[in-house]
Symmetry: C2
Subunit: 398 residues, 2 copies
């Protein structure tokens, strides 16, 4: 253990393994890793499913915020435009040549100028809102500025978050403003079945997916019955997108984390642990052997504070631990300080053979929530066939 | 409510208030705000306390990672050097002229070259470790590279995290390597009483502060008894630093979050809510009135996923809500999606007068954990006397 080289590149390994370890060992840890083969397989899976139903996907890019990841997703097929969570993302992807963008977070007046600028430059930027008041404010602003804002009305189809009632009177009031006012255009309706993250059975998931679809189609029909065109019906969440069995009336499906997956999605049952394409590379820096702790240099600054598996059947703490090749280890990341991780046995009563984890050796941590973990990094290190090939930047901020 | 200007600058307000609202209204939300007057008062408080005990502070800059904030802290007095949580921070502060830096996270071999480069350029960079094995690896590396690494041995004085036993044999083994090997220099001992975050009474806090001091002084004396010089005895955490009553044997006190404070520190009892200098500015984007929800554009991407008050007497969800002037409101941020915040009554059974919170109006959210929330932003917007004066950048990454 006296030589650094001997720790990061054990002599007993094959040439390929050596190469991988040597390249990973050059990374400053903690570092974000993306397994591109898994990314492509995940992208192909949803593409095949939605394409098979005759539908199109509008991938949400908020998980990775990377043009390169998005290109791999588009290459999988059946993709129409993208979904973003911030106008900063809209700008970044527009700068990289994408023209069809839906900003899926309710717009507010202080963001009107930023959206106007993007539309004026040629971006087909659709925005969303869920009140007649905001529709009126946007219409007035668009009219004053001589810009037309395309709008998808946000629907609440599962009581999860924001959105207006698909069966309510308010929807029609919003539709009327958007249809009749200069400065705005009713482009369609959209919803996000966020409650799907809490589904624990295939039956409940299928039921929620159908409800998300049915209530959205009803809302669109109600608007059309008043003579308001409503071309887009946009639904989706990763679990419901993967489970929906008929897309009649739906024009596009949105999903984001399906491209990388994470432990929460594995807990919901829509992927396996082995499908998870994102991980954080950490280095063993110490131990507390009496407590059965390995200390690493990946704390919550690297993993985020997301404890999304805490309420699932299997709680992974801050993440599941795999070896440098991605093979599962009987360990979880049980605790986190800002730049320290605590790694413990996955099951109570088990003990760690510390000689398997020498000081300076590397481990990988699979995240609870890929969106939150990826957000802690500015660069994505790409693995292909286990070999470090590229480093991709990502957008951030607002 | 049809005019944007009327929402962000109500006509009934005084000239100063108008100016503040107009400047805050120009910010893209969510945005990080720092009340500089509170920052200075917090810095002065610890400076007065530690200075009064004849001690010096080595402030931990991991909360804000900003040279400007650090300058305000240094101006408060009784400061010796700084503490950092990453080598990226060390590099950033060195680039801004600071020369005396302690990197307080256990070093590992893949970080040796980065540390070597900084030392070679003239930074007095002290590192830490807690095993004889890592001491040997660093000594070998320093010797091969012709660099001398100054080391503070990390002690575990409260069972919180990493560190070697101050009364154990391992400490002496580490001391021997550091004292006798070329390439390394025993510069002292250090500890962090992280368990202080869990203290709920003044008595337990004072007892822990004294334990942190006493066990560190014992460790230093044990090393000196073997003839190993041990000039630095570095202790600290925000709660213990504010409570320690005698610094005999201690050469410096480290603390970080005391400069901004947060809800967790208020829960520990070492500050009041009104002392909290950091907040996140958000915009009201919608409602779910039947659920008594205000929806904002500040989700967990802005606040972080930190739920540090969840186990305290008062659970603020993702944060406490104050108005644009910092006055408390009977609201908390009860839920968070990536870019959506859910704001609810602070007490069950209360209801919201939604007319007080029009669409497009702004609110501020006080964070559970300042370090985690600040990390979500790349810029710090500075308020002085309630007026937006500057925007400061911060370091990030590794």
């Amino acid at each position: 253990m006296s030589s650094v080289a001997s720790i990061t590149a054990p002599a007993s390994k094959s040439g390929d393994e050596l190469r991988q370890r040597q390249t990973l060992s050059t990374l400053t840890t903690p570092a974000l890793l993306l397994d591109r083969d898994k990314l492509r397989a995940n992208a192909a899976r949803l593409s095949t499913h939605i394409g098979g139903l005759g539908g199109l996907i509008r991938p949400h890019v908020k998980t990775h915020k990377s043009i390169n990841v998005t290109r791999d997703i588009i290459a999988a097929g059946h993709v129409r435009g993208i979904t973003v969570s911030t106008l900063k993302e809209a700008e970044y992807f527009f700068d990289h040549g994408l023209r069809d963008v839906f900003y899926a977070v309710g717009i507010s007046p202080n963001k009107f100028p930023q959206a106007r600028d993007l539309i004026s430059k040629g971006l087909d930027l659709k925005v969303t809102l869920d009140t007649p008041e905001m529709a009126r404010m946007l219409a007035d602003y668009g009219s004053e500025e001589g810009v037309m804002f395309p709008v998808l009305v946000e629907l609440d189809t599962d009581g999860h978050r924001s959105g207006t009632n698909p069966e309510g009177e308010e929807l029609l009031a919003i539709g009327e403003i958007l249809h009749k006012s200069p400065g705005v255009e009713l482009r369609g309706v959209m919803t996000h079945a966020g409650e799907s993250y809490h589904c624990r059975s295939d039956e409940s998931l299928l039921a929620l997916a159908r409800q998300e679809r049915d209530r959205s189609v009803v809302a669109a029909e109600r608007l059309r019955a008043l003579g308001y065109p409503c071309p887009i019906v946009s639904i989706g969440s990763t679990p419901t997108a993967l489970r929906i069995d008929d897309l009649t009336g739906v024009t596009e499906v949105r999903a984001g984390v399906y491209s990388t997956f994470d432990l929460v999605m594995a807990g919901v049952g829509v992927c396996s642990i082995d499908d998870i394409a994102l991980s954080v590379l950490v280095t063993v820096t110490g131990y507390q052997k009496e407590k059965q702790w390995i200390i690493s240099d990946g704390g919550w600054m690297a993993m985020s504070r997301d404890r999304g598996t805490a309420n699932q059947e299997k709680d992974y703490g801050y993440g599941a631990v795999v070896d440098i090749d991605g093979n599962p280890l009987p360990l979880i990341m049980s605790g986190a300080n800002q730049e320290h991780g605590v790694i413990s046995p996955a099951e109570q009563g088990q003990s760690i053979d510390f000689s398997n984890y020498p000081l300076g050796s590397q481990l990988r941590i699979l995240p609870n929530h890929a969106c939150a973990t990826a957000a802690q990094f500015r660069e994505i290190n790409v693995l292909e066939n286990g070999i470090l090939t590229e480093s991709w930047s990502r957008a951030g901020g607002w």
